[in-house]
């Protein structure tokens, strides 16, 4: 039996025997072997079936698949359990294929299969990626001309290097994603409620090249992600041209360490994205009204790269002791050179800075810390 997009095909099979020995059997010699009473599923059928569970439950997906295929007989209809098994099997085969391909790419480019560079030198051109000081000063002057003196950006306060967006080979947004684990067998009546909900963790990487083309990678661990991402960048020539890689992360230590370990042989920059900076600051301030007021003021200063000023404001607020601990901790996390955020640079995405056009579209401003300092 074959499950195809055309329909369920029932095919006569036969065997040729010489005495007791089977010389030829269509079930083994022509068609791929399947489990007993399990139809072989064609590529078109599998492709069609796996579209639906992305958005719907397996039961809803089964209804939709059966509607599309017009399975009239109940025995010919696709069941939700079949879809669940199919999705799991397809997912596993895709992961295996990606792993195999990544290993092949790494080996072809003088890397070990766990992403370690086997040769001593890796060709790169770090100098080209950094903007000259004069260009940065000119930009700051232009920005300052539009602002009041208090809000002027002081170049001496910025301890950062500024990369030329045209020299950035890829912008990579990296984050750990956590979601509720779905039960394999569905809900059962009277089953005991678990104290802690089971979660599924995965690492997502969104890669954007200079031409703004994007690709998303998904793995179950950070280690796996680093290997696959390295292979992806090598395969797409994003590491063979002069320039650097820019990583946008939530500031998590494990992500930072993984990036540093994997890409230590070439220039890169890790940037704490604006969304997570806002989130971290928000976590540091308790009290709804105070939070709104303080956050607005802090972000306005941070927007201009005035980290010291922002820290001063936070310290001046008289906190309750329990809040103080939380706030100080968050401040230390984002401000100490050891933890990452060394300085804050704000580059406005405006037409007049077309030559510094920011390629990362998600955030208008960069909140940077150098990988060297981190």
């Amino acid at each position: 039996m074959i499950d195809a997009e055309i329909g369920r095909l029932r095919i006569d099979t036969f065997e040729i025997k010489e005495g007791k020995r089977t010389v030829f059997a269509t079930e083994k010699d022509v068609f791929p072997e399947t489990g007993s009473r399990e139809p072989y599923k064609t590529a078109c059928f599998r492709e069609l079936v796996v579209f639906f569970p992305c958005d719907d439950t397996f039961r809803q997906s089964a209804d939709k698949v059966n509607r599309v295929l017009w399975g009239q007989e109940k025995t010919d209809q696709v069941r939700s359990r079949t879809i669940a098994n199919l999705v799991e099997r397809e997912g596993k085969s895709i992961q295996d294929h990606i792993k195999e391909k990544a290993e092949h790419i790494l080996m072809c480019n003088s890397f070990s299969i766990d992403g370690k560079l086997l040769e001593k030198n890796f060709p790169s051109a770090a100098e080209n990626a950094v903007l000259p000081q004069e260009t940065v000063c000119k930009m700051i002057e232009e920005l300052n001309a539009e602002n009041i003196k208090e809000r002027h950006i002081d170049f001496s306060e910025l301890h950062e290097t500024f990369e030329d967006p045209y020299s950035v080979n890829a912008n990579i947004s990296l984050d750990d994603v956590c979601c509720k684990k779905q039960k394999a067998g569905g809900r059962k009546k009277g089953s005991p409620v678990k104290e802690k909900r089971e979660m599924v963790y995965s690492t997502i990487a969104h890669i954007q090249n200079g031409a703004s083309k994007t690709y998303t990678l998904n793995t179950s661990t950070i280690t796996q992600m680093m290997i696959i991402m390295l292979a992806f960048l090598l395969s797409n020539g994003l590491m063979s041209i002069p320039g650097q890689l820019v990583f946008f992360t939530d500031g998590a230590r494990d992500l930072r360490l993984a990036i540093q370990n994997t890409f230590c042989f070439l220039p890169f920059k890790i940037i704490l994205d604006w969304h997570h900076l806002e989130k971290k600051l928000s976590m540091a301030i308790n009290g709804k009204q105070v939070k709104q007021q303080l956050l607005a003021e802090l972000l306005a200063w941070l927007w201009l790269g005035k980290v010291e000023k922002a820290m001063k404001i936070l310290r001046e607020v008289s906190p309750r002791d329990d809040q103080k601990y939380n706030r100080t901790r968050q401040l230390d996390q984002i401000s100490s050179p050891q933890s990452g955020l060394y300085s804050l640079l704000c580059l406005k995405k405006e037409a007049r800075f077309a030559h510094l056009k920011q390629s990362h579209r998600e955030s208008q401003w960069y909140c940077c810390f150098s990988s060297a300092e981190a």
Partner: protein, 90 residues
């Protein structure tokens, strides 16, 4: 190897409603199926071609069916209008 799909829409008296729709496509020879390892890949090419041809054949046949329907509906309406104007009915 070729595959021909023919769609013929007929009246109950076996007279043709519209002209025949025939789609002919090239399909893989039996020799392409070299073994179970290659079956999936080869059959995928076959199935995709057949699905496209099936849809094209049915689409063309239904277009012809509907074209005939519009002609018939138009002449039917004219006939009805004529009969409603005739003095015998009023």
């Amino acid at each position: 190897m070729k595959m021909q799909i023919t769609v013929n829409i007929k009246n109950d008296d076996n007279s043709e409603v519209a002209e025949l729709t025939t789609i002919e496509i090239k399909v893989l020879d039996f020799e392409a199926f070299t073994g179970p390892d290659k079956f999936g890949e080869v059959f995928d090419q076959y199935e995709r071609e057949v699905l496209k041809a099936r849809n094209a054949a049915i689409e063309a046949a239904i277009e012809k069916y509907l074209s005939e329907l519009t002609k018939k509906t138009h002449s039917q309406r004219r006939r009805n209008e004529k009969s409603s104007k005739s003095p015998g009915i009023t």
